[in-house]
């Protein structure tokens, strides 16, 4: 038995064929760093002994020169 949502295969149902314009937006794998900072997350290997909140605070401080002002976390419960 696994976690909920694990290994779910979802079917894609297409209502109509439609293209997207290359003039705006960016494919996720072609984002530049600035775009990535807005659409990104970091999978952090938290040092043991410090709280998730503290790690998020440190990460925010490290990233602050790059205009990252908000950092959230989905923290470990120990």
């Amino acid at each position: 038995m696994g976690l909920p949502y694990e290994d779910i295969k979802r079917e894609v149902i297409t209502l109509r064929d439609e293209a997207t314009s290359e003039d705006y937006g960016a494919y996720p794998d072609r984002r530049d760093i600035k775009q990535k900072l807005d659409f990104g997350f970091i999978l952090l290997d938290k040092p043991s002994g410090i709280r998730s909140k503290t790690s998020a605070f440190i990460a925010k401080r490290i990233l602050s020169p790059l205009n990252v002002s908000k950092i959230g976390y989905s923290g470990t419960l120990v």
Binding site: T20, L43, K70, L77
Partner: protein
């Protein structure tokens, strides 16, 4: 980070997996202990520890699975899959109480969050600091773009609807998704969390399904998804004009 923050809360839907090391206080029969530990699989009631950020009242949580990996003397190494908000230290304490042996947690490592594992590009705070340094001081963005991953990867387990370019900007301003905006979709049920994507695969917003997706094929108008949190900022896609 930044606007992607709103999506992080969705990770709580997916549950977590840990590997924990439990130290048992008295001698025990491994088979008997194993049997009693497995009784914790299913619904449990847990009182959050004193030192926690939530209200101290019993909460129901689900233990999805429990796998004992190794028993050595009084130490038991096990893997456990749980609902978000389950305290493993407390779970181990309660196992100790129930068996009358007494137990405490020695070590804990989270191995999965909503399908993300340690193999999905884990980085340390030091690694992050170095990556920022390379980017800032040397103009090398490679390490940083390895450390920062696309938020879509974290929420990928939920159903999606892909919307037309013309609908993107209105959703960025908080509008719901109506039938004409939907190009393709993964099946969803009413009230289910659904991710709203562009045709390029960028996340625009997160919403709740207003209808069952099976009825989508037969209708031409009406609300499909109610937008809850917007991730993409307005102005990236062109503004929609009804006259177009």
């Amino acid at each position: 980070m930044n606007r992607a923050n709103k999506a992080i809360a969705l990770l709580l839907l997916g549950g977590k997996e840990y590997v924990a090391l439990m130290h048992v206080h008295k001698d025990f029969d491994p088979e008997e202990l194993k049997k009693q530990m497995l009784e914790f699989v299913g619904k449990i009631n847990q009182l959050p520890p004193v030192r926690s950020n939530v209200k101290r009242q019993y909460r129901e949580r689900t233990v999805y699975y429990l796998d004992i990996l190794e028993v050595e003397n009084k130490d038991v190494l096990f893997k456990v899959g749980v609902e978000s908000g389950t305290y493993i230290r407390k779970l181990i304490h309660d196992m100790g109480e129930k068996t009358g042996l007494g137990a405490h947690m020695v070590e804990l490592r989270r191995t999965k969050v909503a399908g993300l594992t340690e193999d999905d590009g884990l980085s340390t705070l030091q690694g992050l600091e170095d990556a920022v340094y390379f980017y800032e001081k040397e103009g090398n963005d490679k390490p940083l773009s390895r450390v920062i991953q696309n938020i879509e990867k974290a929420v990928d387990f939920l159903p999606k609807v892909w919307i037309s370019d013309f609908a993107v900007d209105t959703v960025c301003k908080g509008a719901p998704i109506a039938v004409p905006g939907v190009v393709k979709f993964n099946p969803f049920k009413p009230d289910e969390w659904v991710l709203i994507y562009t045709l390029k695969g960028e996340i625009v917003a997160i919403g709740k399904a207003a209808i069952d997706s099976s009825s989508l094929k037969g209708i031409e108008k009406g609300i499909v998804i109610r937008t809850d949190s917007v991730i993409m900022r307005p102005g990236i896609y062109p503004e929609y004009h009804k006259t177009q």
